[in-house]
């Protein structure tokens, strides 16, 4: 089953989000929780900007030789006793994982946080096959209880308030005493820990994502704050790593460089609480670890991004800084974007993965303020890439007819300065007469989008260019008059002089 897409209804989604009081209250956390912390921790590290350059270069280099590094990675995984499965599509990846679970007769599967699992709709697929997937990241656990999608790539439940979570826990954890106190976030966390502990021990397969795959060593890396990922991948019979192909980097050294910008950009931490490196299944002398180690490498449209205008998007390390700093995300939250990836990174990635015909609103719903690019740890030019999507839309005649007509009309004049000056002067004079002496208008025909929410200033009666031309003409006239006066005076003086000499 694929993930439902509501991106074409972005406008409706956004309107609903703006009216959702709970959501609006919760979105305040994005600002207080992320922005200031990132700024502080970045300011404390003098080489932060250079590290961003290095991180960008590492990813660019890897993408330029992606086949090489993926094959090297595969070879190292095999050497360490693991298995690598190549999945061209979401469907392939779902089938591979289900087959592993079936072979191991899995009843329950624990999951670490994975956006790729969201992308391929893994939970629904496992459930349909009678296997119970259990999210173990606290935020993911909460939204799984609510049957919702994540609204943020690193803080999946950021759209919720504590009271909503308490209500969900009381609704689902019915075996616990109803009079228990869940007022504090810590008590909610303790309850989730206790409930999840049983699930960790019972799980047959553990599925995690990966922040990095290291070609040099065949290692997968997860970066977490809760320790749930470690329990997910260590305790069950098999550990399945589900990762997209662009997660590979050449060396351990490269990972340590990128890690220095990842947590700082994401949560404002210098480093996350857990950074876990996994290489192959449990060895004979290991104290613990999974009996089997599988890596599912998902393409799902990414290899076609390699050769085109959107390649730079494949540098993304999924820190979430772009959405944390985006005024549009801050206003409407993640669900409005209508698919797995929200915010500026989603506005570029989603059209690549599900088609610009469905996701066209996303790259348009941006003010191009550039704050996302300003904070992106791998310097992805997100506004430029969003603009490229708008170009594709325009070329394919997907943009709305009103926009195209309006633009065409404006462009006709904008290319003809004299006609433009003539027409705009008349239009502004009309607007000034229409508006009268009030200074501003509360309503303006054809501009409801503006005047529904704000006043519009009434223009001066003459455009700048017309006023300027008049001023220059008056100045020229004054100069000519002054010249003429001077000439007459000189002539008169000469005449006087001549008469005097006679």
């Amino acid at each position: 089953m694929s993930v439902p897409i509501t991106s074409p209804q972005f406008k409706g989604n956004a309107k609903a989000a703006l009216k959702d009081v709970q959501l609006q209250r919760a979105l305040g956390k994005v600002e207080s929780g992320f922005i200031g912390k990132r700024a502080q921790v970045a300011a404390r590290l003098p080489e932060f900007e250079q590290l961003r350059d290095l991180a960008r270069d590492i990813k660019d280099h890897t993408l330029a030789h992606l086949d090489l590094y993926l094959e090297a990675y595969e070879a190292r995984v095999k050497e360490s006793g693991g298995h690598v499965h190549w999945a061209a599509t979401a469907e392939d990846a779902r089938k591979i994982i289900l087959d592993i679970c079936k072979r191991l007769e899995a009843k329950t599967v624990t999951k670490g946080k994975s956006m790729i699992a969201e992308e391929i709709g893994l939970n629904a697929h496992l459930s349909e096959a009678g296997i119970v997937p259990i999210e173990t990241d606290l935020g993911e656990y909460i939204i799984q209880l609510r049957d919702e999608a994540p609204s943020h790539i690193i803080a999946p439940a950021i759209h919720l308030n504590k009271e909503q979570i308490e209500a969900d826990f009381r609704r689902v954890h019915t075996d616990l005493p109803p009079e228990r106190n869940l007022d504090e976030p810590a008590s909610l966390m303790a309850e989730a820990r206790a409930v999840l502990r049983e699930k960790f021990l019972a799980a047959d397969v553990g599925i995690t994502g990966a922040n990095f795959l290291i070609a040099e060593t065949g290692t997968s890396v997860i970066v977490t704050n809760e320790g749930n990922g470690d329990l997910t991948q260590t305790l069950p019979k098999a550990h399945v790593v589900l990762a997209s192909i662009e997660k590979v980097v050449p060396t351990l050294e490269d990972v340590s460089t990128i890690l220095r910008v990842l947590a700082r950009s994401a949560t404002g931490q210098e480093i996350s609480v857990y950074t876990t490196f996994s290489t192959g299944p449990r060895r004979a002398d290991d104290p613990d670890g999974p009996g089997e180690y599988h890596v599912v490498l998902l393409d799902n449209g990414r290899s076609s991004m390699l050769s085109g205008q959107f390649r730079e998007m494949l540098r993304c390390i999924r820190c979430g800084a772009c959405m944390n700093h985006c005024p549009v995300y801050g206003a409407v939250g993640g669900h409005a974007y209508g698919w797995v990836y929200p915010g500026p990174m989603g506005a570029v990635l989603t059209p690549s993965l599900i088609g610009v015909d469905k996701a066209g609103h996303l790259p348009n719903a941006s003010t191009f303020c550039g704050r996302c690019e300003e904070v992106c740890p791998v310097r992805i030019p997100l506004p430029k890439l969003m603009r490229h999507w708008r170009e594709r839309e325009f070329e394919r005649h997907l943009s709305p007819a009103t926009v195209r007509t309006g633009l065409g009309f404006w462009a006709f004049f904008a290319r003809r300065p004299r006609l433009y000056r003539w027409a705009t002067q008349r239009a502004m004079r009309f607007l000034a007469l229409f508006g009268g002496n009030r200074g501003r208008m509360h309503w303006l025909p054809f501009a409801g989008g503006w005047t529904r929410h704000r006043d519009f200033p009434i223009p001066e009666r003459e455009t700048f260019q017309v006023q300027w031309a008049k001023r220059k003409k008056a100045e020229a006239k004054a100069v000519a008059e002054a010249d003429a006066n001077a000439r007459r005076a000189a002539e008169a003086a000469a005449k006087d002089k001549a008469e005097a000499a006679q």
């Binding site: 005024p327 409407v332 348009n364 704050r371 839309e393 633009l407």
Partner: protein
């Protein structure tokens, strides 16, 4: 002639379409500031920098407009615009329209190197240190996005404002966060734009300043329109108007004064 004006740079004023149509006094304020700084200002016949087409994905139209702008303005020593957004469009985005065309690129690059936003031009190029003016009042300054992030304009307007006797700047929370204008964005996604500008208006009003300044008319119209709709007592002006001592003129969206008042 040459002896008189030899050291005076010839500036082509790119007045911007919004200033041209909606608020010409910003254009005259710009001319005054440029002349005071020692420039000879000319205003060739012009339309727009092409941003509406560029940001709507229409590169062919953008390119046609860009060619016109280049031909019109390349004769000047400098091109100056009272807008970070339009100056940024020329300076940063024109080159990509002519990628792979060396002859055009040479002309574009030459133009880009001489194109500036007004206030940063005064401070960084003309080395204007101060404005001899009295202004008794508190203002707050919004850093419009393109100027701030594409051209690095932040210190320059504050430097000149702080040189004015009596003027106090009360910084707003999130001065560097977008006002929600975004060109066509504000009419394509009016509700989202409104939510963003509403937050901005609250931050402006919270400073207690009675005058809002910024360097881009689009953002100013958005913020002024919202402040007025919310009934806030703050008036909005382009920073050039205040620097040129034109605060007797009605502010954006304010009634023209009756004679003698």
């Amino acid at each position: 002639m040459a002896a008189e004006t030899g050291s005076r740079p010839r500036v082509g004023l790119f007045v911007t379409c919004l200033v041209d149509l909606i608020r010409p006094k910003i254009g005259f304020a710009s001319v005054k500031l440029l002349e005071d700084a020692g420039c000879d200002v000319e205003v060739p016949s012009q339309t727009c920098c092409g941003q509406p087409a560029f940001n709507s994905g229409d590169r062919r139209t953008t390119r046609a407009i860009a060619e016109k702008v280049i031909k019109t303005f390349e004769a000047y020593d400098y091109v100056v615009a009272p807008s970070g957004s339009c100056a940024g469009m020329i300076k940063l985005h024109y080159p990509e329209l002519f990628a792979g065309e060396p002859e055009w690129l040479r002309r574009v690059d030459a133009l880009c190197a001489r194109t500036h936003e007004l206030v940063s031009f005064l401070v960084d190029v003309m080395k204007v240190e101060r404005v001899d003016l009295l202004y008794d009042g508190t203002v707050t300054y919004h850093d419009a996005c393109s100027g701030l992030r594409e051209l690095g304009i932040k210190a320059q307007p504050r430097k000149l404002l702080n040189s004015i006797a009596g003027l106090h700047i009360a910084e707003m929370k999130d001065a560097d966060v977008c006002c929600g204008f975004g060109g066509t964005f504000c009419v394509k996604y009016p509700e989202v734009s409104n939510a963003i500008v509403e937050k901005k208006a609250q931050n402006i009003a919270a400073t207690g300043a009675l005058t809002l300044l910024a360097g881009d008319l689009g953002c100013l119209m958005n913020m002024a329109g919202k402040l007025q709709r919310l009934g806030k007592p703050v008036v909005a002006r382009h920073v050039a108007e205040l620097l040129a001592g034109m605060t007797n003129e009605p502010a954006i969206g304010e009634k023209p004064k009756v004679n003698g008042q």
